[in-house]
């Protein structure tokens, strides 16, 4: 944790309210996001219990699996989920704008510009917490290799046709969510804790109710009191007033309410199956419907508070203006969405179970680049984030006290003006360190030339910098390209833009050190039927 984050947390403890750690919003928020609050069944991996899902905060769609261990009901749930999510994803797939992309021409091997489509907007999924995000990943993994009737008409228990497609999309969103700064799929607790520091640990911040209690405590309560209530307060029946944001449910709920309700449902179902005439069946069907209704009400009662909390969190985030470079990062998300849309349209197989060596290395390189980009962009977008970097000695701000014109040596002398900056910050400047400032959105580099006078006079440091670029081609620097005396400037020790990494070999050319080429690509077979499938 950075020093400024620690200080913000201490301040949150002493004031009883979360402290802002950002002055702008560093993630894109769609005007029309799809919120998904999933619940899972205790003790059964990947068995959904239900979900609230939708784009309208007043009219979420409730999906429930009354008997989570019943595979048919689970498929019905997933098919319903696909019916909500896929049309939402499709709604952005049609509107496109023309864009250019550099590609390698397969014939000449040259890099050429090609006209491609870029979706004008991308669908955004929001889940309450990181655990919810992991759960979507798990659902994606469990669905994308499902066998449909089309693939194998003979075997019983095929999955509904749209399930593998939903699995591929959830997998794509889950992978994209691992890219720092991406906003296709957001866990609300993570976005909120990026923008506010609470007086509790970051582990406790993963409780959406407690986190919101710190950021926006009800009434005159302090954040600590409100958070404690959110975590612990129970009603007369021993149920949590603020149910966990899921997907895991509270054991007290499971034991006292859910398990008996599911048992009643099972009994009603057995009874219906054993009905001997139509009249009896009618009665028993009514009992079954009532039992199902009861479970639906229970699931809604546990998801609805989280659903409302998610939208309240989104309101809090929307109150912040969007950072200047957020749009640029969202464009990358749109590229990501468009790319996967094209792969699906082209009939490519689902994402493999495991990445090959080259794909894994490429993904890691992309994520590291995006992480560095995100850190730089957040600091440039937000003076409060920059203050944290300044406190850490990674940037400094101050006033220009002197500018002396100088020139490089050589046949064609170029301007290398020496700029003296008075700063109260204490940057960790090594000899000849490169520093950067933002000049009309582009980074201008300078070289640390030394301190003027003794560094410790109580008057701040006098840092002498030699500006080395972005001054035009002429002998005299272009107007405005060199800071002037009295200007307020901010230089960073980190680079503003990231260089692209080296191109890795194609997967077919994987070298011997990494196991050689993966061999002929075999489309992964759909999951086979196992005995557990028809328990």
């Amino acid at each position: 944790m950075s020093l400024i984050a620690t200080l913000a947390r201490l301040e949150a403890v002493s004031t009883g309210r979360a402290q802002p750690t950002a002055t702008v919003r560093h993630r894109h928020l769609s005007g029309h996001p799809l919120v998904l609050v999933p619940l899972t069944t205790a003790g059964e991996a990947g068995a959904p219990l239900g979900a609230l899902v939708g784009t309208d905060r007043d009219a979420p769609r409730l999906l429930v699996v009354p008997q989570p261990r019943d595979r048919d009901l689970r498929f019905a749930f997933l098919a319903d989920l696909a019916d909500v999510v896929l049309p939402y994803l499709d709604s952005c797939a049609q509107a496109v704008e023309a864009a250019e992309r550099t590609e390698t021409d397969p014939e000449t091997g040259k890099r050429v510009k090609v006209e491609v489509e870029l979706c004008a907007d991308a669908p955004q999924l929001i889940v309450p917490s990181r655990a919810g995000l992991d759960y979507l990943r798990l659902l994606g993994r469990s669905m994308r290799f499902r066998r449909t009737a089309e693939q194998d008409p003979e075997t019983p228990h095929p999955a509904p046709p749209r399930i593998p497609l939903l699995g591929r999309w959830l997998t794509h969103y889950g992978e994209r969510a691992r890219v720092p700064g991406s906003s296709l799929l957001l866990a609300l607790t993570e976005v909120l804790s990026r923008h506010w520091a609470t007086g509790q640990s970051s582990l406790e911040d993963q409780h959406l109710g407690a986190l919101l209690a710190w950021i926006d405590p009800p009434g005159d309560d302090t954040g600590a009191e409100a958070a404690r209530r959110a975590e612990l307060a129970r009603d007369a029946d021993g149920q949590l007033l603020c149910p966990p944001a899921g997907p895991a449910t509270d054991p007290a709920f499971d034991n006292k309410l859910l398990a008996p309700a599911i048992e009643r449902y099972d009994r009603a179902r057995t009874a219906l199956a054993a009905a001997e005439d139509a009249l009896e069946a009618d009665d028993r069907l009514a009992a079954l419907t009532a039992a199902e209704r009861e479970i639906r009400d229970l699931v809604e009662s546990r998801t609805r508070p989280t659903w409302d909390a998610v939208w309240r969190g989104l309101d809090l985030l929307r109150a912040l203006p969007e950072g200047a470079r957020v749009e640029e990062r969202w464009t990358r998300d749109r590229w990501s969405f468009t790319g996967h849309r094209d792969r699906v349209l082209a009939g490519e197989p689902p994402q493999p179970r495991r990445d090959d060596a080259v794909t894994a290395a490429n993904k890691l390189a992309t994520r590291e680049r995006e992480q560095a980009r995100l850190e730089a962009q957040e600091a440039l977008d937000d003076p409060l984030v920059m203050a944290g970097r300044r406190l850490a000695g990674e940037a400094f701000a101050g006033e220009v006290t002197d500018v002396v014109m100088a020139y490089s040596e050589g046949k064609r002398p170029s301007p290398r003006p020496l700029v003296t900056v008075r700063t109260d910050d204490r940057p960790h400047l090594a000899e000849r360190a490169k520093v950067y400032r933002s000049l009309d959105g582009k980074p201008q580099a300078a070289e640390f030339a030394g301190y003027e006078g003794s560094p410790d006079e109580g008057e701040g440091f006098l840092v002498v910098l030699r500006i080395v670029d972005k001054m035009g081609r002429g002998k005299e620097p272009e107007p405005g390209s060199v800071p002037e005396k009295g200007d307020a400037v901010c230089f960073t020790l980190f680079e503003h833009e990231q260089r692209g990494g080296a191109k890795l070999p194609d997967p077919e050319e994987t070298p011997w050190t990494h196991g050689g080429p993966p061999g002929e690509a075999v489309g992964e077979a759909p999951d086979t039927l196992t005995e557990e499938d028809v328990l």
Binding site: R178, L364, H428, W512
Partner: protein
Amino acid sequence: MTTVDFDPGAAAARATDAILDDTLHSTARGVVVDSPPGAGKSTLVVRAALELADAGRPLMVVAQTNAQVDDLVLRLAEKNPELPVGRLHSSDTDPYDKALDGLANVRPSAKAADLKGLPVVLSTAAKWAHVKVDEPWRHAIVDEAYQMRSDSLLAVAGLFERALFVGDPGQLDPFAIVGSEQWAGLSYDPSASAVTTLLAHNPELPQHRLPVSWRLPASAAPLVSDAFYPYTPFRSGTGHGVRRLSFAVPSDGSGPDRVIDEAAQSGWGLLELPARHTPRTDPEAVRAVTAVVRRLLDRGGAAVSERSPEPAPVTAGRIAVGTAHRDQAAAVRSALAELGVADVTVDTANRLQGREYDVTVVLHPLSGRPDATAFHLETGRLCVLASRHRHACIVVCRAGVGDLLDDYPSTEPVQLGTLVKFPDGWEANHAVLAHLAEHRVPWRP
């Protein structure tokens, strides 16, 4: 192996001969050499390079940093000034050490095509990754291979047919700035070390080990070997009493002076400050580090060793300060500047890898911390800090690290399919701490 008839020179020579024999004549595509700290890894790389060049095999050398590449170029030129050597460098300003410009047979260039046909071409892994060739090099030497990431090897492995991989498994593992648990357990996990991936796919490759540390004194080799290389022990090249440290000015009885004397006597010293939770740049600990350095210089240290039987002065250039974090290094640097000390190297463990000094002063990674994270417990970090010295190592630390370790046992999740590294940082920290406790000088500044 018994202590009586162990001849370090002969043992090291046997190992080197076997390595060179495999490198030049083995049919295997790769040879892996594990080298403990200061075991003559660079010397081996230079010798192998010269022999491969002599055998007429075009050679590329991959190192991890520009400083390492420049160092190898200088060593090559020193051994064989006639050998034409290519230094492939980036197109940044000042991409390589200016000392290379003075060497007639070294050709620096930013383009690989300019260096075509030279017997040896050296560069960093990052630069090699951008090189495209029609015909791969017959041979490569990959230096510091344990510090190279698997994905970085993936980018350059297409450039050579066979290779000698040299490195120190006990030093810091490579790291990624984003999570990579997703690939944990895969043989080609891109965030693992290059050697891990290489051996996972090619387990039959010959593996060698250099058995003697020429850098570490007899007082340090057993501790470093036991704590960090329990299954691959090594010895010091010199015996007890060969290396001696003495001071012209006698001790004034202060904590720093007493710890200096203790370290001069035994090779180790622990200056223990009162227990306290502090920020990373603990001002008292920083002052204690700088006081020790200042006194080391003021007392006119002189070192006797197998290299110089006459006492050689321990100058600022022969002293280093090691820290865990960059802000700690920066704090020590500015505190030293205030005391008027210049030319003492102050750096983090990452940057001290591969370097050697007479005396090192280490700010213990866990000093003053309320918790022990995986970063601070990493075996390699402590190993680097505790194995840079030829004579003595002085550790500055707050009391209570032992209790801290007991409060924070390693709880890293176990990933299926990954190689569990032994010893873990927790155990290594305890081993080092137990040894340092015998050389403890409590001090309240």
